[in-house]
């Protein structure tokens, strides 16, 4: 089996007094594609933000590529090869498209630059057309491409996508899925959160379902697709 990129054990995360994550174990190995599922408000985003150390966890441990990062700052986690496409995109509106990409550029943990500005622009021709536009002037789909392109500029080993197709026109969503497949095939591990469960399970190796901050199912896509009871009960499909 390939290297463990990220390993969380017994994560408990709170927002103020509300106990959101209730003891999560979560592991990602190199090249793996994982679907993170669950209805709204079940804690998917909170889990991602805990893995990235954007919110502190009260209990539990986090290791990134074998290094303890339980108390590390977010930039240190990112620099161990993890990139993030957040819910709501988070482009820098006051930077141009080019600046959004260039500011993130960094070689991978093993020192390679697979993704350069040229390659990103070849992958997202629409961004090439709008290179000098301000980030705020882009359409929703273009903003999403920019966020994904920007994440790739960090040459990650793991890309975490939180609702990357949310609010996009169907044709644009198809385009985003095509890109996600391309990223997966390039060998980058991905964690995907998306409302479109069949699109998720079509490309994932493994899936995790969260209910109220606990994992209620974990298994390969083939198994999940055959478990209509679980799909119905926890995802409302």
């Amino acid at each position: 089996m390939s290297e463990v990129l990220l390993e969380a054990r017994g994560l408990h995360t709170y927002y103020g007094a509300s106990h959101i994550l209730r003891g999560i174990d979560f592991t990602v190995r190199g090249g793996e594609t994982i679907g993170l599922m669950g209805r709204n408000g079940m804690g998917k985003t909170t889990l991602i933000r805990s893995l990235l150390r954007l919110v502190p966890s009260r209990h539990g441990e986090l290791h990134v590529r074998g290094r303890a990062m339980t108390d590390a700052p977010p930039h240190a986690v990112a620099r161990r090869g993890i990139a993030y496409v957040p819910e709501g995109r988070g482009i820098f509106p006051n930077l141009s498209v080019r600046e959004n990409l260039v500011m993130a550029a960094r070689p991978s943990v093993d020192g390679k630059r697979h993704w350069t500005l040229e390659r990103i622009l070849a992958t997202f021709p629409r961004l090439a057309e709008r290179l000098h536009h301000g980030g705020a002037q882009l359409s929703g789909g273009e903003q999403q491409m920019l966020t994904i392109g920007r994440a790739l500029m960090t040459n990650p080993d793991l890309l975490i996508l939180d609702e990357a197709t949310e609010g996009l026109a169907p044709l644009i969503a198809v385009e985003i899925w095509r890109i996600i497949r391309q990223i997966r095939e390039s060998g980058i591990a991905t964690v995907i959160v998306d409302k479109n469960h069949s699109a998720v399970t079509a490309i994932t190796d493994r899936n995790v379902i969260l209910v109220k901050g606990s994992i209620v199912f974990e298994g390969p896509s083939t198994e999940l697709r055959s478990r209509s009871d679980i799909l119905h009960k926890h995802l409302g499909v």
């Binding site: 990235l52 954007l54 700052p73 977010p74 930039h75 986690v77 990112a78 620099r79 990139a83 993030y84 957040p86 988070g90 820098f92 509106p93 006051n94 930077l95 600046e99 959004n100 260039v102 500011m103 993130a104 550029a105 960094r106 920007r150 994440a151 960090t154």
Partner: protein, 288 residues
């Protein structure tokens, strides 16, 4: 009045405004990006001037003194950020004001202990110590032109730094979405420390440049601090470009106020501020 008098006043306004810009640009960045109201910013102007005085007396060379002074003030800025200011980011403005006001008192006391309370002159370097004749009996000191030139160079360098370098992009990115910048691997705290130290060093540098024309004297940072806040507010908090425009406006208002309405010169600047804020409550250039 003949034209050369106007020309002299215009040059003085520009020189004064640009010097003010050096101080205010750091203040607006620290306020706009880090959200810290730093009353001790004017103290750095004073510290810079006194460093120019004592280091040039020590080395016999103003430029060597300025070089050493810049290095020392960057170090001092980094240490202060690390020891004190980094603890203030999430605090109330009142706490920031209390701490930084305390720093003003401490720096003034230290200045009194180390350099005494006398006014000191700082000699202008010989090769800049002459005047360009404008008419038969009017001339303009070259050192003042030198100050304007250096300030313009620094303004240009700041523009390139913020707009063209990756570090500048990271600073702007962190300014709008700190979390996102961090999760792209940007060490925002380190960058803030750097911006803070550079802002402080710019204020000190302005004090060093000004020392030969203004002399060095107790409390010299306070007047500059107040005017710098006026510049920051007029220009729009966090806008370096706004600070440049506002500083030049203040330079002209102050200088020409003294010429045309000497009795009211003291309030000319504040009238200008009130007028601009009535017109644009957020300042001339809203924060990007």
């Amino acid at each position: 009045m003949d034209a050369s008098v106007y020309l002299i006043q215009i040059l003085n306004s520009i020189q004064y405004g640009l010097l003010l810009f050096l101080v205010a640009s750091g203040l607006t960045l620290i306020f706009g990006i880090m959200g810290i109201i730093n009353l001790a910013h004017g103290s750095f102007y004073m510290i810079g001037a006194y460093m120019a005085f004592s280091l040039s007396a020590l080395t016999g060379n103003l430029f060597l003194a300025i070089l050493l002074g810049i290095i020392l003030s960057v170090i001092l800025g980094i240490v202060l950020e690390w020891l004190l200011f980094s603890r203030l980011y999430r605090r109330e403005h009142l706490e920031q004001v209390l701490l930084t006001f305390g720093l003003i008192l401490i720096f003034e006391e230290l200045r009194s202990i180390i350099a005494g309370d006398d006014v000191h002159g700082v000699p202008i370097p010989a090769f800049l110590n002459y005047s360009i004749p404008l008419t038969e009996n009017q001339s303009y000191p070259v050192y003042r032109l030198f100050i304007s030139g250096v300030c313009l160079l620094i303004a240009g360098a700041m523009y390139l730094f913020i707009q063209r370098t990756r570090l500048g992009m990271m600073i702007r990115a962190g300014n709008t979405n700190r979390e996102m910048a961090q999760s792209l691997g940007v060490n925002i705290n380190l960058i803030y420390r750097l911006v803070f130290a550079l802002g402080m060093a710019l204020a000190a540098f302005a004090g060093m440049l000004a020392a030969p024309v203004s002399s060095v004297f107790p409390g010299m940072g306070n007047q500059v601090l107040i005017l710098s806040f006026v510049v920051v507010v007029i220009g729009g908090i966090g806008s370096v470009w706004g600070a440049l425009v506002a500083a030049l406006l203040i330079g002209f208002a102050d200088t020409f106020g003294k010429v045309f309405v000497p009795d009211y010169a003291g309030i000319a600047v504040y009238l200008l501020m009130a007028a601009i804020l009535l017109w644009r409550p957020e300042g001339l250039f809203r924060r990007a």
